[in-house]
């Protein structure tokens, strides 16, 4: 069974002017069909306004499709009876670290989810401890969230979702408001969830370099899926990505530039090591000739 499956998912909303008259209809997500297997790490890329966040909100049943269907762990999200099951199965982390922490102490915030689903007190404490350890925030359990950095706050939010024992976590631009250090921290925690805890991860972002470890990358534009594939396949299409208002890591761009000037480099180079190795290889071959 697929962890997430969408079939011809379309989401429209009606725009109104100040007097409440209909101005027009905006299609935020347009006929999207995709599957995510259990244990996969997928990334959804797209510029601001491409519909990627709207798509994400369907997985947690915050939004319901106008047309089409979304199944999470086999359950239809538009069926009211499945609502709380789905929200427990697919946890969600949002963009603004300040606006999703409810507790005044880190551990109390992580316990908020389990409290809501009626977990007995002793087990809440166990879950809080293991979740905080999983994101490396256990030492901060007694802190006030206001004293933490952005990256630390986002890790607390991830722990808060983790404590509900979800099968899948959707992260909606969790790094957009963070500095480079905070971004690294959060991405490291997300990768650990997938590698160690085997949780299905859907990461939504506009930073390319955060997606190079994903199993599959989807690029969205105007509500549709414009590109899809392994990171290497997607990143090799530098021109197309630029058209979609995205950019590629500087190494990939440099490799692409060198290819254009006639060097025989493989497509979609993602790291500094890969590129230097390839360049050294070509030079060594030349010398042999």
């Amino acid at each position: 069974m697929k962890m997430i499956k969408t079939d011809k998912l379309t989401y429209e909303y009606i725009r109104r002017d100040d007097d409440g008259n209909v101005e027009g209809i905006t299609t935020a997500v347009d006929n999207v069909s995709l599957d995510v297997d259990a244990g996969e790490f997928i990334a959804i890329l797209g510029h601001n306004g491409s519909g990627k966040s709207t798509l994400a909100k369907h997985i947690n049943a915050i939004l319901n499709p106008t047309h089409g269907t979304v199944w999470v762990d086999g359950k239809d999200t538009s069926d009211e009876a499945n609502l709380w099951d789905i929200r427990q199965t697919a946890g969600m982390v949002f963009q603004n670290p300040d606006n999703q922490i409810i507790g005044q102490v880190v551990e109390e915030d992580v316990g908020f989810g389990p409290e809501n689903i009626g977990i007995p007190t002793r087990q809440i404490w166990e879950r809080v401890e293991e979740s905080l350890r999983a994101v490396g925030m256990y030492e901060y359990r007694k802190y006030s969230p206001n004293k933490l950095s952005g990256g630390q706050k986002q890790r607390v939010s991830i722990a808060g979702v983790l404590a509900m024992h979800p099968k899948c976590i959707v992260l909606d631009e969790p790094t957009a408001m963070l500095d480079p250090n905070g971004r690294k921290e959060v991405i490291r925690a997300v990768r650990a969830l997938n590698d160690v805890e085997k949780i299905t991860v859907v990461l939504i972002t506009h930073y390319m370099e955060e997606t190079i470890h994903a199993d599959r990358v989807f690029v969205m534009d105007r509500g549709k899926i414009a590109m899809e594939g392994a990171p290497r396949e997607v990143f090799s299409q530098v021109d197309k990505l630029k058209e979609l208002r995205l950019d590629v890591p500087q190494v990939t761009l440099l490799a692409y530039e060198l290819q254009k000037r006639g060097l025989q480099l493989p497509n979609g180079i993602l790291t500094v090591q890969e590129l230097t190795q390839e360049l050294s290889r070509i030079l060594a071959e030349r010398e042999r000739k």
């Binding site: 601001n48 500095d179 230097t276 360049l279």
Partner: protein, 280 residues
């Protein structure tokens, strides 16, 4: 004539148990017309430093001179300083409040006591300078996209006709294309008007190709202060304090360490590609 900082210290919450030494003995000179990138991560003191330039924060000790005058002198006109040294904060949401874009941009010049005609002329000019389309002038600023809001916020300060423009992380939260558009617009503004610009960012890669000079802040002190090329030469030390030089710096240095004869000072992909092609 330039801005001069002479042994500026700033201690937050002085005389309390929570006292923090945020700026440590900063000495700087910013000549007219320079484009300076100020880099550092959260808590490095870069934003605090910027708020000293227009007197929003007052140094605990030390002096700041603007055009040769000590801004801490008793009779110094702070209001005038704030119109000459314009500061745009990170989130445009913190300053936009009027019913439409044009009135919002008029707020600054109106506070200077200018008449209606001059206010509107300046607002119009400022909006043109940041590249905002005319049809957006009478829209609510809250309906704009992130990049457009950013432009309106910058125009709101530009309309005061400052000689120095300070932008605190103007690209935060924008997508890559939006980021490039804002940076190009700022560069254009600088070449056209010859203003002094200080641009705060936490990404070296983003600002490297636009600025004349990079100021790296770390824990309240200036760690490096030089041209981008010379600053990136210290890529190892930058790494130690958790800041990264552009990826091309790493590639070229890696190649050089492998015994290849390359010049490692390139900062853009084009320059790096030229350098690497010399090997073949």
């Amino acid at each position: 004539m330039a801005i001069l900082l002479d042994h500026v210290n700033y201690i937050y919450n002085e005389d309390t148990p929570m006292a923090a030494h945020v700026l440590k003995d900063i000495c700087l000179e910013i000549p007219d017309g320079q484009f300076v990138g100020v880099i550092g991560h959260t808590g490095s003191g870069k934003s605090t430093l910027m708020q000293h330039f227009n007197g929003l924060l007052r140094a605990t000790s030390g002096h700041i001179y603007y055009n040769g005058e000590d801004i801490y002198k008793d009779d110094y006109d702070m209001k005038k300083l704030r119109s000459k040294v314009g500061l745009v904060f990170q989130y445009p949401e913190h300053q936009l409040f009027e019913i439409d874009v044009f009135s919002d941009v008029c707020f600054g010049p109106r506070n200077l006591g200018l008449d209606k005609r001059e206010t509107e002329l300046r607002a119009y000019d400022a909006l043109r300078r940041v590249g905002l389309e005319d049809e957006l002038f009478y829209q609510s600023p809250f309906d704009l996209s992130g990049g457009q809001k950013r432009r309106v916020a910058i125009a709101g300060v530009l309309a005061m006709k400052p000689d120095v423009l300070i932008l605190d992380e103007p690209t935060a939260g924008l997508d890559p294309k939006g980021r490039d558009e804002i940076l190009q617009q700022v560069k254009k503004l600088q070449t056209e008007t010859g203003m002094t610009i200080l641009l705060v960012s936490h990404s070296m890669e983003d600002v490297a190709e636009y600025v004349d000079r990079i100021l790296v802040m770390n824990r309240g002190s200036v760690l490096f202060d030089d041209t981008p090329r010379n600053v990136f030469a210290h890529y190892r030390e930058l790494e130690e304090v958790g800041l990264a030089a552009p990826q091309v710096t790493y590639i070229l240095n890696e190649l050089r360490n492998n015994g290849l004869d390359v010049d490692t000072s390139a900062i853009t992909t084009k320059e790096a590609a030229d350098e690497i092609m010399k090997l073949f």
